[in-house]
Point group: C2
Chain length 336, copies 2
């Protein structure tokens, strides 16, 4: 895999200015609690994941294999106070996996220490692997892709919830990560928005390769065909995934598309139709199996009404994965 990040993890929070800055680390803790042996915080850190605070030495003693930098750093630079601790981690046998924009592989002290101690530095936002151009050749095995009306509508959460439900039912399924938080959670994956344009769909063919007939790759979606900033990424995901099953994700009550005040939020049904046109180009059997709603910004009444309306219009199970779980969606998948 492009990234092969060993667990257990030490979640490095540094001097995170608030809880939101540790959003990525929090996602790892929520979805992979067994992999997280603790959190590391410097003086002044305002984030807390509710994990034991451990020093680098204690983490090493407890068997931590990788320090996860799942935190937004200040000013785009890695502070010297961080470097000192991270060098210690490398000396004590841990790798470092970073979700920062700043590359840890370009911090001289870390590069030298990693080389000296035979450790690996992963910049998960920056794929280093070369991918092939997509072939479009049909692969065995089953694939699910989460898609959406916009960015940040719950695609990763929904995909992980489906993985959890499938695994609980004894199904053969793997979450396939396409973003930084997902990559930490999977220990592998492709930061697809950072891939060279020619290789977007090719990187997805690589991420979700041929598999046994009963196996499900659950591919984390990104962007939206209707989000004009990122639709190229989404297009490549749809073509590369060759999805058998699609799950539509949507945030109820969002006033306009994220970052695009000129673009109202798309309606669910026409967006599904548009996506199907492209999904069926690579897999004529592609179909939607459910709708996942983020209803955290509307009243319970509004949420219930929207859910009912959407279920009626689509004829599919409509859930808020956070509240309802995704069992009705997995039921549809199992029925085939």
């Amino acid at each position: 895999m492009a990234f092969d990040i060993k667990n257990p993890y030490l979640l490095f929070l540094g001097d995170a200015p608030d809880q939101l800055a540790a959003k990525t680390a929090n996602g790892v803790k929520v979805w992979r609690p067994d992999w997280c042996i603790g959190q590391f915080r410097l003086p002044g850190c305002k984030a807390d994941l509710g994990l034991p605070d451990v020093s680098i030495e204690e983490a090493a003693a407890k068997g931590a294999k990788t320090v996860i930098l799942g935190v937004a750093n200040r000013g785009g630079k890695i502070a010297d106070s961080w470097t000192v601790e991270l060098v210690k981690a490398l000396e004590l046998g841990m790798d470092i996996a970073s979700g920062l924009h700043t590359r840890v592989t370009q911090v001289p002290a870390l590069k030298e220490a990693a080389a000296k101690h035979g450790r690996t530095l992963f910049d998960v936002r920056h794929p280093t692997q070369d991918f092939a151009v997509a072939s479009g050749v049909k692969r065995t095995g089953k694939r699910l892709l989460t898609v959406g009306t916009d960015v940040s509508v719950g695609k990763m959460f929904t995909t992980l919830a489906i993985e959890k439900e499938m695994v609980a039912r004894g199904m053969n399924a793997d979450f396939r990560a396409t973003g930084q938080t997902g990559i930490f959670i999977a220990g592998a994956g492709v930061s697809i928005d950072a891939v060279i344009a020619d290789f977007i769909s090719g990187s997805v063919e690589w991420l979700a390769p041929e598999n046994t007939a009963d196996h499900w790759d659950l591919i984390e979606g990104q962007g939206s065909l209707l989000n004009v900033s990122y639709a190229g990424v989404t297009m490549g995901l749809i073509h590369g995934a060759q999805a058998d099953a699609l799950v539509m994700c949507h945030e109820v009550g969002r006033p306009h598309m994220r970052g695009l005040p000129d673009y109202p939020m798309p309606e669910i049904l026409p967006t599904m139709d548009l996506i199907l046109l492209h999904a069926r180009h690579v897999n004529p059997d592609a179909k939607f199996v459910g709708v996942a709603l983020n209803t955290s910004n509307v009243s319970a009444e509004a949420a219930a009404a929207f859910k009912e309306k959407t279920a009626k219009e689509t004829g599919l199970p409509v859930v808020n994965p956070l509240i309802d779980g995704v069992a009705p969606i997995v039921d549809v998948i199992q029925k085939g």
Copy 2:
């Protein structure tokens, strides 16, 4: 501009093994004959553009500003025999613009000579500029985008033919290049298939910025929404271009999509419908103004029949730009 390549040019053919290896240089010669002061060939060169053969010294004396490496090199490496001549060109005050996969900026002798003599090395396949994420905000000025059923169906040729016709009519128009040959022809542009996935549409917004109301940006298309290898690039082009006018390009008689034996060539009409869905998301006034056919692989009879059928189905002018020119398409654009 990302690349600002000064002319006149010296077209460097090196030891090109055949005429096809000099395809890019030939495109520059065809579309910008006035910029090309000559060709440079090493012993064993099997390509000939029909330009005067000049030495590096003669090119410098004639005022060449840039050496264009518009040729496929053998084995992906720049031979020492090339380097010697290219260093000479840098010493004599020329820049070098390369369309090779191998980066001239990574050949130590060239890097050193360029630094020493204050010259610039352009690797046009490798954008070095950072682009912003697309905003989708409507820009003034008019834009035309060529699109197609597949890759390599004549989009660049059609776009350049339209520029030529518009300029001949005194219209205010600029060709905007998105591939290596186009970049040499324009002296500027973005090699869009090499842009990071998140910035595809943003790079097009940058390439074809706000302009005066009467101005036309004629944007060179790439790929196809139905070519599963490259559709992400095409999607970003469609969203970034906010095209007022679209021209559909197609090769008659191609047995299947380029490089994709499992995918038959798409029909023109449904492909146009699909493209319009996306083009109108960013510009509700987007419409097709013509169809450009490459008919070089079918008989004259078959070509004529296909043209007639397509004109009837689309209600648009249908031309083979190479034979018929593009005047009927520009007529439609002028009528508005």
